[in-house]
């Protein structure tokens, strides 16, 4: 190291070995100032790090004031060398400073690059060159193909001996990095512009510390930067370089709580680490690291009902140690440990291992920040929105009626919906007393609770704007959701809160859950809600093509799974299933409304085929062997209504069911299913009525008593007028099968011929009411196109 007053401690961000080494080195050095690689704006809030309410993992969050979505995170765990250095300095009341380029410049640089498309490409090339991982190169030089493993062996797993020189590892590492960064003259530079600027800025800060009279300066920075900081060029050159910096973006910085799970993701400080929980264990455990780890794993597995004994733990430790020896590693690393856990503790099962992986290797630790921490950008975004949408946070409740066709009201609705997703129940949706019809109107009850400020801080972990945070939270909820219905509700929320960013994740979870759900009934319950959401999305202009795809997938699964699910149901089950059948039928109709009807194998066709299948599954021996009559009758009726069966075929089916061979109870159920939701059919087709009449008069006395309640229920559900007419026709005597096409049979009370002219006069008005073009003569069945194939040929 070039100057004896400056000591550079090159580290890798987040590493227990590095953290220990830094602690030991600082003890030896006894510096009078500690400089740390990190955004320079954070200096004013650095002292919060020793606040007793501060619990790592935490992160520094910097964001541009005018655009909170431009933000950067610098996470710290207890085993981060930077964190160790900060705590060391603050505990001894030394000045501690962050010396990296301020985040404000970083945002400005990023904006500048985005503006200049050409440069962006160059920058990308520079990035690619930088993608050369210095540790991978060193590992290769050491003859190891696995860089991570090599680094762990030589750095992270080392526990320095009492008499060893704590500075020696840093010197060795600096030397290696210097060799790596040495380039033959003329070769393309290894570093990009951003790195050059950062290193120049850091050098300037070191100079400033020296000017301030500090004599023992400790610098904690990424090992890669060590050579650039030790070989100091002239201050003038650095100043000239830094003069090229763009104008600072106005930036704010604060501490936010962080989690081990987030540490494991790729954020902020270089790459994420895969095993924060393991590192934490290495850092916090002084002796018997492996044995203690295995014991924790055993405790975890026992709590989850895996029988694990102490003998298992002993064997696992032995296996891990022998494996390490076999692989030529100094101590057992994470790979050996997990291999041993899998083979000994988990009986080779990857499922149990996944549990260890999730709870112990990654870990669930959640950080906390002191209450004195500056406000988070999310609060700022909320305040901004409240101002621009003219919604004051007031504690007393008040009503708010929104007309979603107006832009301001639509934005207000979005804000309220999003806040509700974040658990900030500022607005509660109510049914307005004034006018609640129509999907474009929403009524809210507003009441602000001061406690919501805390919720805003909690929500900061999901994002820096209300939209981002809501989307982030929905994604997390979607991953955790257990029930299909929860997910469909989330999908609905995504649409009303317009969170397109979260929708793909919800859709994915929804599709996955639906694929694995074996209960066709549940699927059938989820579909109508989804289709409703689709309709609602249309009103709001949200893009819902993904939702459409999922809904269709769901409908397909129902088509396959429903017929078997309807088999062998008791009366209650059949009743519940009938409601679902109707709901799914309506939903499929809605789904297919927009689609091209001419498609040969459309969803409607497949659904019709499923209904045909359902109608055919008669019980062969006892009610448990087939679909109950109620559902079969219903299926025939739905097909008839859709003109996928003609009335002659329906009559044939009815005759079969009502023939003596089938059980009277089943037949009565069939009739109920067939007639529910409109009995006018019996008036239009006298043949059907005659069949029914014949059957009923033919039923034996005891059986009649059995089926009477069922029939009574069926007929009492019919419209009063229809019931009366049916009654009077039956009373009027024998039916004649002649003139089946006529509206009224000969048995009818009034048999006056229709006056076609007078009827025609009313047609245009009826068409207008139905929203049809008056030219269409076939106004009777407007929405259901007749299909050339009946679907029963599959």
């Amino acid at each position: 190291m070039s100057d004896n007053d400056v000591t550079l401690l090159g580290i890798r961000h987040h590493g227990p070995g590095s953290a220990r080494a830094v602690a030991a080195a600082l003890e030896r050095l006894r510096p009078d100032v500690v400089l740390i690689e990190g955004p320079a704006e954070a200096d004013p809030i650095i002292s919060l790090a020793v606040d007793k309410e501060m619990v790592p993992p935490v992160a520094l969050l910097a964001h541009a004031v005018d655009d909170p979505s431009r933000a950067g995170f610098w996470p710290f765990a207890s085993f981060s060398p930077e964190w160790v250095a900060i705590r060391y300095g603050l505990a001894r009341e030394l000045p501690v400073r962050f010396i990296d380029l301020p985040a404000a410049y970083g945002f400005a640089l990023a904006a500048e690059q985005a503006q200049q498309a050409q440069q962006a490409q160059q920058a990308q090339q520079a990035e690619e060159r930088l993608a050369l991982d210095p540790i991978a190169v060193l590992a290769e030089a050491a003859g190891q193909d696995d860089a991570e493993r090599w680094w762990e062996d030589v750095v992270e797993h080392r526990t320095p001996g009492a008499d060893a020189d704590p500075l020696a590892p840093f010197e060795a590492l600096a030397e290696a990095m210097t060799a790596l960064r040495e380039q033959p003259p003329g070769a393309p530079p290894l570093t990009g512009r951003r790195d050059d600027l950062r290193e120049a800025y850091m050098r300037q800060q070191i100079r400033a510390a020296r000017r301030a009279g500090h004599r023992r300066i400790a610098v904690v920075c990424g090992a890669w930067h060590v050579p650039a900081l030790s070989a100091m060029p002239t201050a003038t050159a650095d100043r000239a370089l830094l003069a090229t910096l763009p104008k600072k973006a106005k930036t704010e910085i604060t501490w936010v709580p962080w989690t081990h799970r987030r540490l494991a993701q790729h954020t902020g400080y270089g790459a994420g680490i895969e095993s924060p929980g393991w590192y934490h264990h290495l850092f916090s455990t002084e002796r018997d690291t492996l044995a203690r780890w295995m014991t924790r794993a055993a405790e975890l597995l026992r709590a989850e009902d895996h029988p694990v004994s102490s003998a298992h733990v002993i064997e696992a430790v032995r296996l891990a140690e022998t494996l390490a020896a076999m692989r030529g590693r100094p101590v057992a690393g994470l790979a050996e440990t997990l291999d041993a856990v899998r083979s000994v503790l988990c009986d080779g099962s990857d499922v149990a291992l996944a549990l260890v992986q999730e709870r112990l290797v990654v870990g669930e630790a959640l950080g906390e920040v002191p209450s004195a921490t500056p406000t988070v950008p999310l609060q700022r975004d909320l305040t901004r929105l409240q101002r621009s949408l003219r919604l004051k946070p007031e504690t007393e409740a008040r009503e708010l009626v929104l007309d979603l066709r107006k832009e301001l009201d639509a934005s207000r609705s979005l804000l309220l919906h999003r806040l509700r997703l974040l658990g900030i129940g500022w607005g509660t949706e109510t049914r307005s007393a004034v006018n609640s019809t129509g999907t474009f109107r929403e009524s809210w009850q507003l009441s602000w609770d001061p406690e919501y400020a805390v919720r805003v801080v909690e929500a900061a972990q999901w994002g820096t704007t209300i939209e981002q945070a809501a989307a982030g939270k929905v994604v997390e909820l979607a991953a955790k959701a257990a029930e299909l219905a929860d997910l469909t509700r989330l999908a609905e929320h995504c649409l009303v809160a317009r969170l397109p960013a979260a929708l793909p994740a919800v859709m994915r979870a929804l599709a996955d859950r639906a694929a694995l759900d074996t209960d066709a009934g549940q699927l059938a319950e989820a579909l109508p809600a989804l289709v409703r959401a689709l309709r609602y999305g249309d009103v709001r202009g949200t893009d819902s093509s993904a939702l459409d795809g999922v809904a269709r997938g769901l409908a397909d699964r129902i088509c396959v799974g429903l017929p078997p699910a309807c088999t062998g149901l008791d009366a209650d089950g059949a009743g519940a299933m009938r409601t679902r059948l109707d709901a799914v039928h309506a939903a499929v109709g809605l789904l297919e409304q927009g689609a091209a009807a001419e498609e040969p194998d459309s969803l409607a066709d497949r659904w019709a085929a499923a209904l045909h299948g359902l109608a055919r599954r008669e019980p062969s021996a006892g009610p448990a062997t087939g679909v109950p009559g109620l559902l079969r009758g219903r299926a025939v009726r739905l097909l008839l209504d859709d003109a996928r069966l003609d009335s002659a075929e329906a009559g044939r089916r009815m005759r079969l069911v009502l023939s003596t061979a089938s059980a009277p109870a089943d037949a009565a159920g069939w009739i109920e299913g067939f007639l529910s939701g409109g009995g006018a059919l019996l008036l239009h087709d006298p043949q059907l009525l005659e069949l029914l009449d014949d059957w009923l008069t033919g039923v034996s006395d005891e059986t009649f008593t059995d089926v009477l309640p069922l029939l009574r229920r069926t007929f009492s559900a019919l419209e009063a007028g229809v019931r009366q007419t049916v009654g009077s026709r039956v009373a009027a005597g024998p039916f004649a099968a002649a003139e089946p096409g006529r509206t009224a049979g000969p048995g009818a009370v009034r048999a006056e011929p229709l006056d076609a002219d007078r009827a025609d006069a009313a047609l245009p008005t009826v068409a207008l009411l139905l929203g049809l073009r008056p030219a269409a003569p076939a106004a009777a069945r407007p929405l259901i196109p007749r299909q050339p194939d009946r679907g029963n040929d599959r």
């Binding site: 003998a311 064997e315 997938g553």
Partner: protein
């Protein structure tokens, strides 16, 4: 070891690869556990393949994760018994044979597990003529392969451990925990000498198996042999095996084979993993194991169908029957799984129209 002649249908591993084993032993300088022919490192390289400093090429015996072999060899070195688990066609027996050959130079100390395996096969039996003539003595005792392995410090192998009745399985407990086999009739015992260990193989997803008691299970380190990791790997395995089988069954070479093999393997993998190959759609998994071995038999079946009853080209219809038979083991639940797969995945897949039609035809 018996001397083998070229007429033998299949040679033991230690004979077939004698040259490789000798080369490895000659250059192996690492410490060897007692009575091991090779050091653990050399055993691992014997299984995984590689090139020795003198240029001898070691063919890979096991293609798969290196981790698996390392854990297996290490387990045997720590004197814990090794249990290899996996569905059919994952090379369990193959790995166990080669491990025994490399460590003890003898892969013949084998107990084949069946529902009728008696206790004598695991412990010892008696030569009744001797027993009646001279009374109980060591000479009248017929040692099992396990007992011989204990006496000689070698590796014993138990195939299909879970097929063995539970009471016979449990006679292994004493052997594995106390490392001794008592012979109460003679008032003595056979103690295992260093170098003895046991490799068992088992199929955990089959039906009609006897679960291991937890007391026995505790004596084993378990290594699960995974199914081939990638589509290409599995297609390669199936193609090679189908070729060999086809030749021995004198089936003519048919066009269209490569494409259908890929399709069969794709269907098997997707249903087995519960997710489509593009990773975008989840599907339900049927109750069957859908192992690589079954994929091989589906394809050979299809080849026979196409050659004898078809037009000489392997077509979608020829394999569809076989796939349906492998997938639908439970007539109700699996039928739904299969139809969902056909309607949800196959129907929309580019270039799979013929297969969709064939599948629809069948599941009517």
């Amino acid at each position: 070891m018996t001397t083998t002649t070229p007429e033998v249908l299949r040679q033991h591993a230690e004979d077939a690869f004698a040259a490789e084993l000798a080369a490895l032993a000659a250059q192996d300088e690492r410490p060897r556990p007692e009575r091991w022919r090779l050091s653990p490192w050399a055993v691992a390289s014997y299984l995984l393949g590689g090139e020795l400093p003198d240029g001898t090429v070691i063919t890979p015996k096991y293609v798969g994760p290196r981790r698996i072999v390392e854990v297996a060899v290490t387990t045997l070195a720590t004197d814990r018994a090794l249990l290899l688990l996996g569905v059919p066609g994952t090379a369990k027996t193959w790995v166990s044979e080669h491990l025994a050959a490399a460590i003890s130079g003898d892969s013949t100390l084998l107990v084949q597990g069946t529902a009728g395996t008696p206790e004598e096969a695991v412990r010892y039996g008696w030569n009744y003529a001797q027993l009646l003539a001279h009374g109980p003595s060591r000479d009248a005792l017929v040692p099992s392969p396990v007992m011989r392995a204990m006496a000689d410090g070698k590796i014993a192998r138990v195939e299909e451990l879970t097929r063995i009745p539970a009471d016979v399985q449990d006679s292994l407990i004493t052997i594995l925990s106390e490392k001794t086999l008592p012979v109460p009739e003679l008032g003595g015992e056979t103690q295992a000498v260093r170098g003895f260990n046991l490799i068992a193989t088992a199929n955990d997803r089959d039906r009609g198996v006897n679960e291991l008691s937890s007391a026995l299970r505790r004596r084993f380190n378990t290594v699960v042999l995974p199914l081939p990791a990638t589509l290409d790997e599995e297609v390669d395995i199936v193609t090679r095996r189908v070729d060999q089988l086809g030749r021995s069954l004198d089936l003519p070479e048919l066009p269209g084979g490569a494409e259908e093999i890929r399709r069969v393997v794709t269907v098997f993998r997707e249903l087995r993993d519960g997710i489509t190959a593009d990773g975008r759609t989840k599907v339900k998994s049927p109750t069957g194991t859908l192992s690589t071995a079954e994929a091989i038999s589906v394809v050979t079946n299809g080849l026979a169908l196409a050659a004898h009853f078809g037009d000489g080209v392997l077509r979608a219809g020829d394999v569809a029957t076989g796939i349906l038979g492998a997938v639908v083991r439970d007539p109700v639940a699996d039928q739904v799984v299969w139809r969902e797969y056909v309607e949800g995945v196959v129907r929309e897949r580019e270039g799979w129209k013929d297969f969709y039609r064939a599948a629809r035809e069948l599941s009517r």
